[in-house]
């Protein structure tokens, strides 16, 4: 039980040596800390069995007392998982598997020799990199919200305290007035990281000024954007920072209860949160009379059940009450009328994760990072056709080119960049000519996209932009809750038009119809889902009109994606007439003779399913 800042200090002192070792402040230490990523990415790549193997290999050995295996949060380099970082020295190993353990134990942990074969190689120079800090992917970033991911064990509250965690809460509770906290956040310039970009200080102030004996703090962890995993990584890697920030928020606005609304699709994040809440309760950092100040605050989880619209704040609040997650018109805003009609402060995970750091390092520090109207850093997830898929955090104002080509390593396979999609189904596709745009809330809006929660999906010349627009619209149409007509019917009609176009049945009039419908759906929809659903369509029509025209006029898909417009052929030179393709064809469209002449495809019969393509051992079948 922790009753005062003094008690916190005691724990901090006890656990600080490990943290300092990992921060390379104690480079001569005899102790070794092996950090293994246990985020969703590395877990899927087998990090759990690797940890078991490591612990087994170390148990009973001479190294047992000086080597510690630590499960930690996401390093961000998901592509190279499982990732292992060994301290002192921040030695970085990637693609580590269970079979590498004996060598690591014998060579590195016992004798201090680095296992070169598991080191990272900088792709353009081929140079082997020893430590994390030497790798460009890491040293070009600035980690604020992700500050503890990879540094601490998210399942151990003591390690969070050792980094200075919960001290900000203690300071706020004992010394600061609510107005001062709000003033600091306002001056820092922090804007909501969920996508809207509303000034956080104003939101806190509105919730504080709302009258009422009961108020709530809610954390939006319903990260529904396909291709975005920032919030998940924070919850998996540093759950206590969110709990601490929510408690500070509770104190500031006068609430005694908080809820985290988290997707059930994130089982690891849910486990870590449950564990973190239990630990904080056991220490008295949640519950009654926190740190002996008389202030009490509790946090409970609410699991989402798979509805994208629940990321919208009014829908989320309905869902958190156990109802259908349908949005309602605003005002009144949640700050006046939220959970059970009580004033409610609602912020996103990344927003909360920034708060303790802002309050401890001061608003001026945060204000000095970023662009004029967008302060601080932003976490982005890089996915799609990009070499370094993963998670990064950079100052606002970094250009798309720096993010994609410098940190992200560019496009794999020597292909050409075509577009980058930001903001998920609500955002737009940005073409090459805008790659030098500094990324912030306002600049992205001005080129027809939006910041969104931070998912960046990169597309190359092999992606069809009409198909991408169709994909996003399919998503929005499917996730439309059906409450308002413009969204429910409008997105459906738009999708039908796009389907016509990708099937080669479109006309030029369809394009104008699409643009008209888009504007109507945007103007008349009730909530953000409908208001932004046409963005992917409008931005692709604007920047890639020629692709639409090729589908409509020439009945061709230039990228070779839209099935109805493709023709499959057999490369006569590569075919070894093994007959596997003919066996796989359900339409009996492939004709030939085993061990005879090359096979060929009857286009009249071909269903364009692509089954033959996957079966061909010589990659002789291609679509055009």
């Amino acid at each position: 039980m922790i009753n005062s800042l003094k008690d916190l200090q005691k724990i901090r002192k006890e656990y600080l040596p490990d943290i300092e070792l990992r921060q390379n402040k104690d480079i001569k230490s005899q102790q070794i800390n092996i950090m293994v990523c246990t985020g969703t990415g590395c877990s899927s790549s087998g990090s759990k069995s690797m940890i078991d193997g490591l612990e087994k290999a170390l148990a009973g050995s001479k190294l047992d007392t000086r080597v510690k295996v630590v499960k930690t949060g996401c390093f961000g380099f998901c592509k190279l998982g499982p990732i292992m970082v060994v301290h002192p020295g921040s030695i970085f190993y990637c693609n580590v598997s269970e079979s590498d353990i004996p060598e690591l134990v014998e060579k590195h942990f016992a004798r201090g020799k680095i296992v070169e074969r598991l080191q990272y190689e900088e792709p353009d120079t081929g140079e082997k990199k020893k430590s994390l800090d030497e790798i460009y992917f890491f040293n070009s970033q600035k980690r604020v919200a992700l500050r503890h991911c990879g540094l601490i064990n998210p399942e151990d509250i003591n390690e969070y305290i050792a980094t200075g965690g919960y001290f900000t809460l203690g300071k706020c509770l004992s010394r600061e007035k609510s107005e001062e906290i709000i003033d600091s956040i306002k001056k820092s310039g922090l804007r909501g990281r969920g996508g809207g970009g509303f000034p956080v200080g104003l939101k806190w102030e509105a919730a504080r000024l709302s009258e009422g004996p009961e108020k709530y703090v809610v954390c939006n962890a319903d990260e529904g954007d396909p291709g975005a995993f920032m919030d998940r990584s924070i919850l998996e890697g540093d759950p206590h920072s969110v709990l601490e920030a929510m408690t500070i928020a509770g104190y500031t606005i006068g609430a005694s209860e908080g809820y985290i609304y988290v997707r059930a699709e994130y089982p690891i994040a849910v486990d870590r949160l449950e564990n973190a809440i239990a630990q904080a309760r056991a220490y008295g950092l949640l519950g009654e009379n926190i740190l002996g100040t008389g202030f009490g605050f509790n946090i409970d989880l609410r699991l989402g059940a798979g509805a994208f619209v629940c990321g919208e704040e009014t829908a989320l609040l309905k869902s958190a009450m156990g109802l259908r997650g349908e949005p309602r018109p605003r005002p009144p805003y949640p700050a006046q009328c939220g959970l059970w009609d009580k004033p409610t402060l609602l912020n996103n995970v990344e927003t909360f994760a920034n708060i303790p750091e802002i309050l401890s390092r001061g608003h001026a520090w945060f204000h000095s990072i970023g662009t004029e109207n967008s302060k601080g850093t932003k976490v982005f997830s890089l996915a799609g056709k990009i070499v370094n898929t993963g998670l990064i955090e950079v100052p606002m104002g970094t250009t798309l080119r720096q993010i994609i080509f410098d940190i992200g390593g560019g496009i794999p396979g020597g292909k050409n960049f075509k577009a980058v999609q930001t903001g998920g189904p609500s955002g737009g596709c940005i073409p090459e000519q805008y790659l030098d745009t500094p990324v912030d809330y306002d600049s992205l809006k001005s080129i027809g996209s939006m910041m969104g929660s931070g998912g960046l999906i990169v597309m190359d010349e092999g992606d069809c932009m009409v198909d991408i627009a169709k994909f996003y619209l399919q998503f929005s149409q499917d996730e439309s809750c059906g409450k308002c007509t413009p969204c429910r019917v409008g997105t459906k009609r738009m999708l039908e038009i796009l389907e016509r176009i990708t099937e080669g049945k479109g006309e030029m009039a369809d394009l104008y119809e699409l643009e008209d419908l888009s504007r109507e759906v945007m103007d008349a929809s009730l909530c953000g889902l409908g208001q932004t659903a046409p963005n992917p369509v409008l931005s692709t029509i604007k920047y890639f009109r020629n692709e639409y025209e090729a589908h409509i006029n020439d009945k061709e898909c230039p990228a070779g994606v839209c099935r109805e417009l493709l023709n499959y052929s057999v490369d006569q030179d590569k075919c070894i007439s093994c007959g596997l393709c003919a066996k796989a064809c359900v339409a009996e469209a492939i004709i030939g003779e085993k061990k005879g002449r090359p096979y060929f495809i009857d286009r009249q019969k071909c269903l364009k399913c692509g089954a033959c393509e996957t079966k061909c051992p010589k990659e002789a079948i291609y679509a055009q």
Binding site: G41, S44, S45, P226, A264, R302, A305, S319, L323, I468
Partner: protein
Amino acid sequence: MDQKYRLLDQVIGRFNSREGQLIRILQEAQNIFGYLPEEVQTYIAGKTDIPVSEVNGVVTFYSLFHTEPRGKHGINVCMGTACYVQGARNILDDFRRDLNLKDQDTTDDGIFTVKNTRCIGACGLAPVITVDDEVHGRVSRKEVSKILRKYRKLEEAAERVDDQQPERPAENQERVPAGH
């Protein structure tokens, strides 16, 4: 069956004291029964004093709830953008074709259910599928039949064990993990 309802009673008892926990109760109920048939919805409505129309409204609103039984192994093909641009649609089609699924999602023998799923956040490993709780990353079209073979083999092995031990605990058969 009674055993399952007893478990459900415990769940309701645990959560019903707090407001707004219907979704949690339904999630647990689905874990117990494997799906949410009408009888279970009516039972929950009665126990929680919530109109059955409201319970059904919630069940049909959220994609995690299903009212039909599922196959023993749930195959979910992630259809997030990252997976989509890496060819997830072809992989989904291959699974469906391989298992001969036309209009339905579950195979006739009740072994596999194939669905597409919303982004599971493992975008760095795209395209991603999950089979039950296991995540498979960077799946290629050629791996589809290999994955199916692996689970079919597991199934056959389980059946052989079954022949020796006819009394298999019923609750494990329909258990579908949360999140699918």
